[in-house]
């Protein structure tokens, strides 16, 4: 969910690798490094496709979990940050909001309870993300 490098940048990278392969394959045998690049490019495309399919559901699932945390929370000062996290439209913004919120939470029992709730939400989101990416490997 918080993965750097935008999809279109990845696709451009794949294109560069494939172009390079196309230029060399006619004239000479590919060496191990070049073959590795092609296989990695292939893997990127597969995982990227799986990530794209799952992205909206992952964000929506996280929004629902944070909503539940907010409703159970007795830390009023955290509500604006939770609201901002729930309103995030892309994973980078979500990550920034949650990082800032977790950094500000102290050790009072109600703060620890909210931290635990956010941890659980992140854990469930991560499990779903890994499960979605595993689908790409199943199709390999």
């Amino acid at each position: 969910m918080f993965n750097p490098v935008q999809p279109h940048e990845l696709m451009l990278g794949v294109g560069r690798v494939l172009r390079r392969a196309a230029r060399t394959s006619d004239s000479q045998e590919l060496d191990a490094y070049q073959r590795g690049q092609l296989l990695s490019a292939y893997s990127v495309v597969r995982h990227l496709a799986a990530e794209q399919v799952a992205a909206a559901a992952l964000m929506e699932g996280m929004r629902r979990r944070l909503q539940a945390c907010s409703e159970r929370s007795s830390v009023p000062a955290a509500r604006p940050a939770l609201a901002a996290a729930m309103a995030a439209r892309e994973p980078g913004a979500l990550g920034a909001q949650l990082t800032g919120l977790l950094r500000r939470l102290g050790s009072l029992p109600e703060e620890a309870q909210l931290r635990c709730c956010i941890h659980r939400a992140l854990a469930e989101m991560t499990d779903e993300e890994v499960h979605a990416l595993a689908d790409a490997e199943a199709e390999a």
């Binding site: 969910m1 918080f2 993965n3 750097p4 490098v5 940048e9 990845l10 990278g13 794949v14 560069r16 690798v17 060496d31 191990a32 490094y33 073959r35 590795g36 690049q37 990695s40 490019a41 893997s43 990127v44 995982h47 990530e51 994973p91 980078g92 990550g95 920034a96 949650l98 990082t99 800032g100 977790l102 950094r103 635990c116 956010i118 941890h119 659980r120 992140l122 854990a123 991560t126 499990d127 993300e129 890994v130 499960h131 990416l133 595993a134 790409a136 490997e137």
Partner: protein, 339 residues
């Protein structure tokens, strides 16, 4: 730069070091797959005055993944030459940026064997077969780690960086923060978790820093070499034990890998074997802390590659591919932290 220039450069270095005679010739030169911060080239040198040599040229290219010191790595190999740790002999180093390989390099022997890839099911099955049978890999992996941690530090202290627990956490956290393209609450929380679990320090040892079967060579059921010393440091030996125990190193990417530690040995067996060989008793809770720290190191390294890819410092597509390794690492960190 042409292969001819590369061959001439290597031969010149080796003649200066006295490793080959004036009539030596390179018969074959090819770049190998793999290597994230280093590029590796294999070559064969025929010398009418001595037996042929199978060699590896290890290059730190411009835009290497990590700003690790090739001189330290070279010196570590040299310092281990007389120790009971299987490492290839080295033949000299050219510490200049402007070389035909695109950066400084050193030359070392090519040892027999291959590096197992635990992310391939077929290779995991081969390693499991060894565990069910002779257990040569498991025995050597544990005993060699104990041998690394027993190497006298007098020589190494001059060439290898020293980092205690706090310095190790701070080192990788600084790299993570410098290289991060997005904020990651799981990684941030993991750094806090690790920092609060500082263990009682042990006497510093040589720590490999990237110890796993994939950085070893195996041949005919035994471990024949330990490679890739670029992350080595003088510090807490339990770092290596936490690192080798990662699910990632048992072949997990998004799906579980081998149930064996590093796809090689049952976990309790490996711990007991290391304890017997090292005379050191291991605390599972401390190893858990080091496992999370080790995953944070991996996250920092992968994040560095992504930063370089996004900044067009490299067009190595593997650097971008690593973004898909991060979710599995986060999942494992979460499990170890008990969220």
């Amino acid at each position: 730069m042409s292969d001819g220039e590369r061959m001439d450069c290597v031969l010149g270095l080796m003649r200066d070091e006295g490793s080959v005679g004036p009539r030596a010739r390179v018969q074959q030169l090819r770049q190998l797959e793999g290597g994230w911060s280093r590029q590796s080239w294999a070559l064969t040198v025929d010398d009418p005055d001595s037996p042929p040599l199978e060699l590896i040229v290890r290059v730190r290219p411009h835009g290497a993944l990590l700003d690790t010191d090739l001189r330290q790595e070279f010196s570590t190999y040299a310092a281990l030459a007389d120790e009971p740790v299987p490492v290839p002999p080295v033949h000299g180093m050219l510490d200049e940026q402007d070389t035909p390989f695109g950066g400084p390099f050193f030359v070392m022997d090519r040892l027999p064997g291959r590096s197992p890839n635990v992310w391939r099911a077929r290779e995991r099955a081969e390693l499991a077969e060894d565990w069910q049978g002779a257990r040569g890999y498991a025995t050597d992996l544990a005993d060699t780690l104990a041998a690394i941690h027993a190497v006298p530090l007098e020589q190494l202290a001059k060439v290898v960086v020293a980092r205690d627990f706090a310095a190790t956490v701070a080192h990788w956290r600084a790299i993570q923060q410098e290289m991060a393209l997005v904020e990651d609450p799981i990684v941030e929380e993991a750094y806090e978790w690790v920092a609060q679990r500082a263990p009682r320090e042990l006497s510093p040892c040589l720590v490999h820093g990237d110890y796993r079967i994939g950085n070893c060579l195996v041949d005919e059921g035994r471990l024949t070499g330990v490679l890739d010393w670029e992350l080595s440091f003088l510090g807490d030996p339990r770092f290596d034990l936490g690192y080798v125990a990662l699910e990632y190193h048992a072949g997990k990417f998004t799906k579980p890998g081998s149930p064996l530690l590093n796809a090689v040995a049952e976990r309790d067996w490996f711990r007991e074997r290391y304890e017997a060989a090292s005379g050191r008793s291991l605390d599972a809770e401390v190893i858990r802390t080091f496992s999370v720290l080790a995953m944070l190191m991996l996250c920092a390294i992968l994040t560095t590659g992504l930063h370089q890819y996004a900044g067009r410092e490299t067009d190595d597509i593997r650097m971008a591919w690593t973004r898909f390794a991060l979710p599995g690492l986060r999942q494992d960190m979460i499990a170890l932290m008990g969220w």
